[in-house]
């Protein structure tokens, strides 16, 4: 049963990686920073934000602990900034994204039922996700896919083609 659950999660996870690469394939470093309307997340922030959760997911799947991602400088309390040096180059941001995806997939393939059944290590998440494994579906499939969809719509505002 565990193998089947992991397989289902990784199907969605791999699709996200493919989609993400297509969404940014034709973007320049400058375009990664564009915020066409107030409040719209730009790709540099969106990828930096998604990247901080890769370590969280890997730790959940491998028995470790992690600091609350909300407090990270690209966490949910942060906003997209206009200063490009905060984020780095597109190559660096996307390189981290790809490495993070691979690290999560490896952690999932090596996890165990006992690791996923242990209590959620982050106090703030315990009510919503009582077990370490309870958060995986949300973090891997809901959270990341929604942000990729934001980039899809961001592309349309720029007049860029659908991918």
């Amino acid at each position: 049963m565990l193998d089947l659950c992991i397989e289902s999660l990784l199907i969605g996870w791999d699709r996200n990686l493919d989609y993400a690469k297509k969404l940014v394939a034709d973007l320049s470093d400058e375009q990664m920073m564009l915020q066409p309307r107030p409040g719209m997340n730009h790709p540099a922030w969106t990828f930096s934000h998604m990247n901080i959760y890769h370590e969280v997911i890997a730790q959940l799947a491998s028995g470790g602990t992690f600091p609350d991602p909300r407090e990270h400088r690209f966490g949910m309390l942060s906003k997209p900034e206009a200063e490009a040096s905060l984020y780095g180059t597109k190559q660096s941001i996307i390189g981290q994204y790809e490495q993070g995806h691979a690290r999560v997939a490896e952690a999932l393939r090596n996890t165990s039922a006992a690791t996923l059944e242990r209590p959620m290590p982050l106090e703030r998440w315990k009510k919503l996700f009582p077990k370490a494994g309870s958060a995986l579906g949300y973090l891997m499939l809901v959270h990341e896919s929604t942000h990729l969809g934001q980039i899809s719509a961001w592309r349309r505002v720029q007049g860029l083609a659908s991918v």
Partner: protein
């Protein structure tokens, strides 16, 4: 139950997210397009509804979208901006729920062998090789990419974030 419970749970959670994203969007703004080419909520909800027909066919379920909806909402359909071109918000959401309610009980009971069947839609086989790949993607990535588009549409319309980020 062979398909991940997490995936099925999220198919339900996604519907709640959609409600959050649309709760303050009045019917008359459902086809508003703040920038050319942006998918608007009427198209997105209709598209998600007809996606259940696709899942239904893959899963061997009986759900079919209303007549004319595939032409209006399927992948590659032309986005129209006149509000009268699309059904009412309540009708769109009710059809989405009808698809979900018809198809997910069938998916829950699919056997390993049925899930491992080759993807029936030839054009998808390259990236979704099996029925399971198609169903997981349909209930998670595909659905949520469109909710993300809706989230960005809200910002472009000057509406506040509905989900915090």
């Amino acid at each position: 139950m062979p398909i991940s419970q997490a995936v099925l749970d999220h198919a339900r959670v996604n519907r709640n997210m959609l409600d959050m994203l649309l709760k303050d969007v009045e019917d008359e703004r459902m086809a508003a397009q703040p920038a050319a080419g942006m998918n608007h909520p009427a198209w997105i909800v209709g598209h998600l509804a007809v996606s259940w027909e696709q899942a239904s066919r893959w899963a061997g379920a009986g759900y079919r979208a209303p007549q004319g909806w595939l032409a209006k909402f399927d992948m590659g359909s032309r986005l129209l901006t006149g509000r009268a071109e699309y059904p009412a918000k309540a009708v769109l959401l009710a059809e989405l729920d009808r698809g979900y309610g018809s198809v997910t009980p069938v998916i829950e009971n699919l056997s390993d062998a049925a899930l491992a069947d080759v993807m029936p839609t030839e054009g998808f086989r390259g990236f979704l090789p099996t029925v399971e790949h198609g169903l997981v993607f349909g209930m998670t990535g595909h659905y949520l990419y469109h909710l993300g588009q809706l989230s960005a549409w809200r910002r472009a319309m000057g509406l506040p974030s509905a989900m915090g980020v």
